[in-house]
Symmetry: C2
Subunit: 280 residues, 2 copies
């Protein structure tokens, strides 16, 4: 607990949201708040190895996260086989860190272990609907976020690789994922080689609500966030100018609208259903 | 960084998993690993208030979590209106902490903000399929887990209330959630009044895999986890003995099979679709 950590929290939140709630420097654990507020995605790593014991320690800490109804429907896959890593890296040529990171993990939603308890007892599985998919997905995300906190606590840097879902069937076959086990996200892990800037986010007036969802003047509020981001970290290039032209005020919302202007993962539902999850 | 923290990590992991990877006492941030490994669900709180500024600070730290494609599809609802809190507490009579906790929050998956960017630009939303639901759900879970880490860092205790999904439509109406915004989980927050024991979990041999999913001897391995749990923290009562009788070796797997022996949230898919998400 120190004034320095409180300053780090404030500075990071100002950079990210354009505002910071008051920070009490006497708070316990404020060094962890400073790491959280200062979170960056790290895509460049030093050559220093990350020991297998440390990876397992971080996994165990992450798997200590809460789990829906204690069903424990999240698993972690450590991809240490260079040949398997290469298959995934080859699928993602735009993300060289997938090949270069010292460690690569895949976080799994596991609806299988719980489902099979019933078969072994000769009892029907009467909850074979969206809930089974939803609960295991949420569990996997809780473990992923917790892993990230553990990794950043010890000084490691991470880059979640959600785009493995663009190749869900290939990744699933590569890792021998059985029925009702699906990849939610990959994760690159290593000792950071640089300190990227903090990416500005939408204002907290958009993402924190009190007692009722507030959608008022949404366009103006998003535009204000866009302008704040443009002032602090303008996009280096506009996506697909051949199609969309050059926008005079290119911000987060135009960038995201362009990024998702073409269909992506339209087959993900078919993959999930093919893995045995029902989405009714 | 201290030997004391390393011992806390080891002891907590031994209690939870029956094993601990080696812990290097010189690791930076090992106090955060100790808090993570020692995570408990807190359902009893002192009367000490949790200041509104502190709640907003924790929200801002949590909203600094990674977000799929930077789409920022998670929101936090602070339920400070006692009348609204009472409505939720009345729905959950088995969970008195929902009424008693100093603070109650609801974490939201928000597929709306991103979807509406397209309408405002007169462009079609060409990704209206499972991906939109999945991404916003995962974002909400990432923010929930991150909030929990922030809260525990400063000494607060939490209890996620996922069972609000049993009343998703009522909670949604209460909080004025519009189309494509759904509640993922509630959260009770307060200063802990006690230190519950660590709940044992499935062994790490079941939840950490390397290079390929390993389902071998699954029944025996789960049985071993059941025995370990029974030895350390036996269930105080068996669920629904009138229906299932008294099991000689009642463990996690029998408890969960009984807990989900009746349909739960079978209407959740209809609710989600009714909110405008497509699950194709």
């Amino acid at each position: 607990m120190s004034e320095g950590d409180a300053d780090r929290v404030r500075d990071a939140l100002l950079a990210r949201f354009g505002e910071s709630p008051p920070v009490d420097a006497s708070l316990a654990g404020i060094d962890e708040l400073a790491r959280m507020a200062g979170h960056r995605t790290h895509r460049r790593y030093t050559e220093r190895a990350v020991g297998a014991d440390l990876v397992r320690l971080l996994c165990a800490c992450a798997l200590s996260a809460p789990s829906k109804s204690d069903l424990q429907q999240a698993d972690i896959m450590i991809v240490s086989d260079p040949a398997k890593r290469d298959v995934i890296a080859d699928l993602l040529p735009d993300q060289p860190h997938v090949r270069d990171a010292p460690v690569f993990l895949v976080f799994l939603a596991n609806g299988r272990r719980f489902h099979d308890l019933f078969a072994r007892r000769d009892r029907p599985f009467v909850n074979d609907h969206l809930d089974a998919f939803f609960n295991s997905t949420v569990d996997a995300a809780l473990v992923l976020a917790s892993f990230l906190r553990a990794a950043e606590a010890v000084g490691l840097g991470c880059c979640p690789i959600s785009v493995i879902r663009d190749h869900a069937a290939t990744v699933s076959a590569l890792l021998d994922l059985p029925e009702r086990v699906i990849p939610v996200s990959g994760l690159c892990l290593g000792w950071p080689a640089d300190t990227p800037p903090i990416t500005p986010r939408l204002g907290l007036d958009l993402t924190i609500h009190e007692n009722r969802y507030d959608d008022g003047e949404i366009a103006a509020r998003i535009a204000a966030s866009d302008r704040r981001r443009a002032g602090r970290m303008p996009y280096r290039r506009q996506r697909d100018e051949a199609r969309w032209g050059t926008a005079p005020d290119y911000g987060w919302s135009e960038d995201k609208a362009r990024q998702y202007a073409t269909p992506q993962r339209a087959d993900f539902g078919a993959f999930v259903r093919g893995k045995g999850f029902r989405l009714d």
